[in-house]
């Protein structure tokens, strides 16, 4: 698995972070606005947001003194690529399996 996909999976592995992603799907939010939705400290929320950013699931934009958190629609690309890679692996292996069997048994 490539590094970004792994980071994306790690980011999604936590229920709080999945809830944050769901919130940000509704609208862009500051750290404070995200924190209002959870029974946890602002630094704890910030930590979750950092992991989501590392997983490329959100982007953080500085707007004046605020930091706006926004969902990154491209963030799932790494996951898509990962699945496509496995898909291609099996397509090639299965095509080869069919070719080999049919060629070798024809000569029997």
């Amino acid at each position: 698995m490539n590094q970004t996909a792994e980071a994306t999976f790690r980011a999604l592995a936590d229920p709080t972070r999945r809830a944050i992603v769901a919130l940000l799907a509704e609208r862009d939010l500051t750290i404070g606005a995200v924190a209002e939705n959870f029974d946890m400290t602002r630094p704890a929320v910030k930590k979750h947001l950092t992991i989501l950013e590392q997983g490329a699931l959100i982007q953080v934009e500085a707007k004046g003194r605020e930091r706006i958190n926004r969902l990154n629609p491209q963030g799932l690309q790494a996951v898509t690529d990962w699945v496509a890679q496995i898909d291609l692996f099996w397509s090639r292996r299965l095509d080869t399996l069919k070719d080999i069997i049919e060629r070798e048994t024809k000569n029997d």
Binding site: M1, T8, L12, A25, L76, T80, I86, D95, T96, E102
Partner: protein, 144 residues
């Protein structure tokens, strides 16, 4: 040509591929399980696959792909765990179903677990087919 059963894959997050091979299931089974054949289409196997045992494949004795034989029903069904370096210890399963059909065998390969369960909950695979709008809709569903 292989065919991906997209709808099923989307619902279960499994990768499912079906192929037709113009020989009987017993012959396909030999190619899936015998060391002498596996290397021709897959990776060099360190030994024949055997019920209830571990297996390993890779060139020059290297362990590139490895796992355990979970189900062994020749010549219909073979279920193995599947580990490969890039999965970083996350265990997946590969299931082979062989069905005799006119003129040959329908071979269905199902690779389950390639996307972590948590990611499935976020409907990530739905995003693959349904596009971003649908993905957002499902995320909103999670929020409500």
């Amino acid at each position: 040509m292989t065919e991906t059963l997209t709808r099923e894959a989307t619902e279960t997050a499994d990768l499912v591929k079906t192929i037709f091979i113009a020989v009987a299931p017993g012959t396909v089974w030999e190619y899936l399980t015998k060391q002498a054949h596996i290397g021709k289409w897959y990776q060099p196997a360190h030994a024949d696959l055997a019920p209830g045992s571990d297996y390993a494949m890779g060139k020059d004795g290297a362990r590139t792909i490895w796992g355990h034989i979970m189900e062994w029903h020749p010549p219909q069904r073979l279920v193995t765990t599947f580990n490969v370096g890039p999965l970083e210890g996350r265990e997946t399963t590969v299931t082979w179903d062989l069905v005799a059909v006119a003129g040959g065998t329908k071979v269905t390969m199902t690779h389950a677990g390639i996307v972590p369960e948590m990611a499935e909950e976020c409907a990530i695979l739905g995003h693959l087919d349904a596009g971003w709008d649908a993905h957002l809709a499902s995320l909103r569903g999670l929020a409500s």
